[in-house]
């Protein structure tokens, strides 16, 4: 293992100390616990939005706490859920009297703990909490259907949920309205990833899985969960075509539909390669008459040093377009109104 770390067991707290030191006017922590991060700027009357999850995915999750997006984030060890108590501490801090919305990814440990935190908020602090669970990875479960449990993992597409719900909350919409926006984004976003090399969790010290020099895995999750196909390396255009095929099939598109695109690097893939990927996505969308409203290219949800990328498409309407265009200012993500 070759990593820029000190004692592996201090990896997460030392990373957090660095973040608080670098961004003292933007983020703060509560209850004396570095793992309970909140926006340093308060916005009275606004619905508070909290997320949380394991470390190892920066900018996800804590990197999207800031004006126009999220208000708080509880942080676990690498790939581990934070505790319900930590989530509850964040909840109390970010409640501005309008209630709190939890938005997090579809993973067992996170669901248990967020549900328990919501119960604590109700029982101990009389804070109304609603939850939206994102599961956008088309490679990890059956297509979404009314009345059926979503078994898909939450991956990079959650960025769009944060973005739109955050913009709605910033406009001082009610908890029910912000929740409805988050659910609408979840219903319209689809993601698929590909991995070329594994990552190493510092305390484990060895790769979480093996992938030969000339192999890739299509559909792999951001913790190295099995994908849908392992095979020999192919060209960028071939990867993108295969992935776009699954994404476009899952949520059918018609000519003149509009999308927002997110190309997400998994941590070990250069931006240049990501733009080679975007080029092919754009071509495919063009050929189908689907318009790109806005494209994001970069690192949004990583998996330590894993090489690979994911593609997320969000089908947008006028409401979502307006929310996407709103400004954001967080330590890790800034956007001017467009």
């Amino acid at each position: 293992m070759k990593k820029i770390i000190n004692d592996p067991k201090n990896f997460v707290p030392e990373m957090l100390e660095g973040i608080y030191a670098a961004h003292p006017n933007e983020v703060a922590y509560v209850n004396g616990d570095l793992h309970c991060l909140v926006n340093a700027r308060k916005h009275p009357g606004k619905v508070g939005i909290a997320t949380g999850g394991g470390s190892g995915h920066l900018p996800l999750f804590l990197g999207f706490v800031g004006d126009g997006m999220l208000d708080g984030c509880s942080i676990g060890d690498v790939f581990q859920s934070p505790s319900a108590e930590q989530m509850f501490e964040v909840t109390k801090e970010i409640d501005q009297g309008a209630g709190v919305l939890y938005i997090y990814g579809n993973y067992g440990g996170d669901i248990l703990n967020f549900d328990m935190a919501a119960e604590m908020a109700d029982f101990e602090a009389d804070i109304r909490v609603e939850s939206v669970v994102a599961g956008d990875d088309v490679a990890s479960g059956e297509p979404l259907a009314e009345g059926k449990k979503n078994t898909r993992r939450g991956v990079a597409g959650i960025f769009f949920v944060y973005k739109c719900a955050g913009a709605a909350a910033a406009k001082l919409k009610s908890l029910d309205e912000v929740k409805a926006v988050a659910e609408k984004v979840c219903a319209n976003v689809r993601t698929m990833g590909v991995a070329l090399s594994p990552c190493i969790v510092p305390r484990v010290g060895r790769p979480s899985f093996e992938l030969a020099e000339d192999e890739l895995e299509i559909g792999m999750g951001i913790h190295g969960e099995p994908g849908i196909r392992r095979g020999k390396m192919i060209s960028a255009d071939e990867m993108v075509s295969e992935m776009m095929d699954s994404i476009l099939k899952d949520l059918p598109y018609a000519k003149d539909d509009e999308v927002a695109v997110l190309v997400n690097g998994l941590g070990g893939t250069p931006l240049e390669e990501q733009y080679v990927v975007y080029r092919q996505i754009h071509k495919i969308l063009d050929s189908k008459g689907i318009k790109v409203y806005h494209a994001y290219v970069g690192e949004f949800a990583t998996s330590m040093e894993m090489a690979g990328f994911s593609i997320s498409l969000l089908k947008v309407d006028d409401e979502l377009k307006e929310l996407l265009a709103a400004p954001v200012d967080t330590p890790f993500f800034k956007q001017a109104q467009f």
Binding site: S81, E85, L112, N113, D115, M116, E119, M120, F123
Partner: protein, 213 residues
Amino acid sequence: MMFTTADLKNLLQVWAEMMGKNADFLIDLDGIVGDSDLGLTMSDGFRSAADNAAGSDEADLGKTAYGAGKAMSNAVPSTMGTLMASGLMAIGKKFKGIESIEDSELPEFFQAYFDGVQSRGKAELGDKTFLDGLAPAIEAMRSSIAAGEPITETAVKAAAAAHEGFLATKGMLAKHGRAGGRGEQSRDILDPGAAVADLLLQGFKSFIETKGK
């Protein structure tokens, strides 16, 4: 007879001792399908719940149970730790604002535990979980109380039913957790969660015996 906040504190002590004594049994059982941390999770978790209750001068039955559950969830935030904590917290919500219940209401105490675990974990009866150990015990408790039997007899029957329920998980198809990933192969094994339910009822039986003396 009444079941008071002091009784709850004693019961939690008995449960902590029970889980401590049976930690190795649970580790072995869990090692077949899980990561064998269940024995430690349960002994650490119930120990922290019991210590929290013992150290509090709260007289409210519900608040005592809730506080104990919360202490457990902080001490052991794993899946099973969170589920057991949810059971105690659900008892807390149900009995908030009172300091004792009649013995005849004890099935409702365990039902609240059951409901708390089920609403958190979303399992159904027959899914080969903790619930399959607890459900038959609650049923046995209800019929014993309806028949007018003394609480000592009720506790003996509930403990026997929980043990039967645990043994009956052999043959069930697991749908949750790591065991759920084993499909048909999971039928051959006993469910470690149901073993925890069995231990809770064995503990309840010995608590009632001691209290009667």
